[in-house]
Symmetry: D2
Subunit: 352 residues, 4 copies
Amino acid sequence: MSTTAVTPSGRAFISDNMAGASPEIVRAVAAAAAGNAPPYGNDPFTDSARRKLSEIFERDVDIFPVSTGTAANCLALAALTPPWGSVLCHPDSHINNDECGAPEFFTDGAKLVTVPGDESKIDPDALGPAVRRRAGDVHSVQPSVLSISQATESGSVYTLDEIRRLGVIAKDAGLRVHMDGARFANALDHLDATPAEMTWKAGIDVLSFGATKNGAMTADAIVSFDPALATELAFRAKRAGQLASKMRFHAAQLDAYLTDDLWLGNARQANTMAARLGDGLKAIPGTELLGSPQANLLFCRLPRHTTEQLLAEGYTFYHDRWAPGIVRFVTSFTHTPDDIDQLLDAVRRHTP
Amino acid sequence: MSTTAVTPSGRAFISDNMAGASPEIVRAVAAAAAGNAPPYGNDPFTDSARRKLSEIFERDVDIFPVSTGTAANCLALAALTPPWGSVLCHPDSHINNDECGAPEFFTDGAKLVTVPGDESKIDPDALGPAVRRRAGDVHSVQPSVLSISQATESGSVYTLDEIRRLGVIAKDAGLRVHMDGARFANALDHLDATPAEMTWKAGIDVLSFGATKNGAMTADAIVSFDPALATELAFRAKRAGQLASKMRFHAAQLDAYLTDDLWLGNARQANTMAARLGDGLKAIPGTELLGSPQANLLFCRLPRHTTEQLLAEGYTFYHDRWAPGIVRFVTSFTHTPDDIDQLLDAVRRHTP
Amino acid sequence: MSTTAVTPSGRAFISDNMAGASPEIVRAVAAAAAGNAPPYGNDPFTDSARRKLSEIFERDVDIFPVSTGTAANCLALAALTPPWGSVLCHPDSHINNDECGAPEFFTDGAKLVTVPGDESKIDPDALGPAVRRRAGDVHSVQPSVLSISQATESGSVYTLDEIRRLGVIAKDAGLRVHMDGARFANALDHLDATPAEMTWKAGIDVLSFGATKNGAMTADAIVSFDPALATELAFRAKRAGQLASKMRFHAAQLDAYLTDDLWLGNARQANTMAARLGDGLKAIPGTELLGSPQANLLFCRLPRHTTEQLLAEGYTFYHDRWAPGIVRFVTSFTHTPDDIDQLLDAVRRHTP
Amino acid sequence: MSTTAVTPSGRAFISDNMAGASPEIVRAVAAAAAGNAPPYGNDPFTDSARRKLSEIFERDVDIFPVSTGTAANCLALAALTPPWGSVLCHPDSHINNDECGAPEFFTDGAKLVTVPGDESKIDPDALGPAVRRRAGDVHSVQPSVLSISQATESGSVYTLDEIRRLGVIAKDAGLRVHMDGARFANALDHLDATPAEMTWKAGIDVLSFGATKNGAMTADAIVSFDPALATELAFRAKRAGQLASKMRFHAAQLDAYLTDDLWLGNARQANTMAARLGDGLKAIPGTELLGSPQANLLFCRLPRHTTEQLLAEGYTFYHDRWAPGIVRFVTSFTHTPDDIDQLLDAVRRHTP
């Protein structure tokens, strides 16, 4: 087999899930492979990851390493809503668009109800009526969970105040709060906040803690701040096929990810590269930066000719997917300043 | 974090899922981490694994790498039975005992109906009436799938004739056939058969192809011999949280597993060690070997004193779980002749 | 117990489900109670209902009497969509708003995706892109069923041309088509069409045939025009608790409903009363009729004082539910011209 | 349509669900049809049924009228077990054999685990280990509900002591207790106990209160003795399509059923007829009564010639279904002493 990747890393801007893994994580996995260990999470790696997450979040947490973000999100939701509940989420959210009905499957049929807002962020004014919509009416699903993405699917980041305000609205109406943190570290880096501030101190009950997109291989984790949910999450994870026998190989990824601030460094690198790209684009006449990149996603408007030439040079990225002329670049921890500068140079060369 | 495993490998006989991973697989994963690659299985590693499995099975197959055997089993079953169907399986089967209702969850409520037989193998004479039980009766679940484990949960192995005979009974009644191959390679080694003979040539429609227990880390695969199931399996895998974004890291494990007969070598090693242990035990007065190990599981009866002394020496294994005095040893590719000889020596020393 | 109803029939305009049952249906149920009969639909009443429906629809149909419209809708949808499918429906549809997640429950998690349009009717121009949205994309639910309500929840009625056009758009993209006919007879009366024209000739695969709101007690029926669905519907109905042992008591209601055009007469009566009410309101200064009632639902704008006085006189109806000042009146087969004239007189008296 | 039933009532012994309805119930339904009433159970009939059941059970109960016993059983179970739970039931139970996977569907995949015992009654000695089987083990479904049938599917009746003993075993292990009372009145008549003694005083949490088989048409009810379950049951009933809009027609049946001891009289009649048949059979040489009928089901062994001749005379009943030569007769409230004597005479005439 050829292990040659199809796109040179420096030209791959489709998604951060195209990146490989951090060397530290590779080494940790290799080290974990050497000996034997108890299965199903009763191993020292899982224990260490739990302790590190508890330290990082400044309180005891329950963790459930899983193999995908979809599994993390949907198991969390299943533990937070009854089947007759609704999950309030943004129309742009991953659970609403990109999980092929997994939330409905895992929750035994709970309903996703969208709440609008600019920049893929839920508008508190829209959330207000939504959390009480037909509450107590047996003919309607019952608002049960608020799910927010941090960072969002369009690269924006909720401020701490915004999260807190949404959290209060939800909690006052008796809802639980879930955070899809597929790009948790990127948001954290942008806000310069603590993990605790961005989660349980702001009302989050359960977090999908993403690692895969930011340097790990196949390891995300459910992090629960509510001890009352631990048993249910354990059984749900098992019967969803997410209790890995050799759990240590997921846990070792998480453990290394959390060691020596690797996770924060990776996120900072990705964010910085997106900012560098944004700054560069602003200086190129004929292109238009849309918004200002807060995490590692950047949207812009490029002339058709520019897009075509970039593709011809081997760059990969989404274009004309959200609207004609709109291009999305996603940076990752693997991108270097040189990569960005070369991309900017190519844009400059090909923009009339 | 301490990466010291709790039991020295040579003394760990609880299960083959305590073992680490083969160096070849570790190296493949490390190599896959280097570059970037398209997500969701559209990568060269997944492609290579598919081609290797097609070659090994002597026909085009569809493959779906998943993170656990439970996911493989239950996605396969969900694609083979309607919700009102029944899955005929042995009372000892993993799906019946050890998956916490995952089969019922994934299939939207299909029912497992057990069919007895010696040595954890389904008895064809019992299967005959079972496949037609209340067929067409709207008040009853409808026999829809036969699921057999190869090797079985007690370490026995169906002969090719036995599989074929069960397959014919099932197919004649319109059922589909699933094989739980968590220890597929161990069974193959014992039979000295080809993968094709042990599966689709004997009537198997979908196989749970186990790799995790036999040298991989977190990678099993659904192997489908029926092209008509490919679309459904793809959607089911996605919505069950089993479509990994960085699928290459599962696929690279499978790819290395299938390279240069690593998988067969690992299985042979495990089987040989079980046989060596069995032969040794037969020669020790006061112990009793139960059956004759066909794969890498071995059951025996040991005096209580012996069991206690082995535990005191740091050996780990299940005992008194199936019946008082019954001990199970599971060997893996990591065990060496020396490990076995030392265990035998310990048994000898502690058996009065 | 007192059997005095809380509102005199003539003043009850909340919903047609407040009405009692037609005397002919009461007599049929009483007659069915006399003897014994085979259970589970193998009785002469069910057989007769099936034959009558086949005659009315001008082709052999499969029927499944059920106890509620929700059960009819959701069993139909479950037979038409895979769990990873989406059901395209209007935002105002009953399945979307008033069934508490039953569609998601029965279908094992299929997703309702709304398609807008005026007067609660799906706009063909909006349906066009919806039926192909992300088709083949494994990350997204797949458009699988178009569900339309005839008459709609706001009392409008699709023309035959409109149904046909929607049907063609759906069928061309490989979707199946369901009709929620909770007020099927009211729509039929308005269109002056044949049942066949309004259903299978226009592309409908499965119909929820409502009878309860129009003179029956507790009997709706799934009517399937696709023989290939019969077995699945039978098993799904059974495991959803909808295969009544004394099915004849549902079937006898349907049978009487379909005898001597009782169903059409009841619908005509309800529709005529709504039209009479609409005509009357148009002539009362200070009130505003919204749209023109096509079936037996009528929306209007009344002064607050008028609404309050009507309520004080014992009239019951929904008001201020859709918007302030908006009143909904629903007529049924039990209303008489006198009832309507008295209501109009009351409106006139209380409108300044 | 011909309303001629296929078997004269007096010769129908297949099941009590072949019987029609009591005249009192027919009259109540007809009376309920006359006026209008609020939908969805907010009607005086439902209120009256609730009050009557509260009186009969000597405490406030929550009731949910449903259209079938399957719906009653499975909604009750869904409210009592998590999806990863197991429901302990007898191998002969209706939920295990005759509901086509409905329990698994309604509970989102909970598992039925059978516990043996003579005469279709669960053996306390077998229940003891079952309630704690693998408790706390995440790989296994968790014992969550004990479900017992009273009377059982073979016509036996648990004594009060037996129910209490099973209840204590279940409750001590943290399980909830459900009673399938499809033939509740028949059991009550046999025991000469109070409804309270046979249910909540003996540990029952939720009862499926059967009425359909004993004189009603299409009405059973969930009776919950645990107020904490009311909200969940209401939402589950709605989303399962069991919240009838014209609920009064179910409730009126229940209300009449409970008036003037109609339900007890009907059950006594059915039981007495079974006893009369049993006594008669005992006196006929060549036949063998199996057990002694406690409710309204009777099993016996008849010569093949006898069976054939009875069938030829138009009698209907199950035979050769449980074992060759075994015949089951089910009596209902519609049978008269004359019917029984004629059947006995026929048996006598045709038994050599």
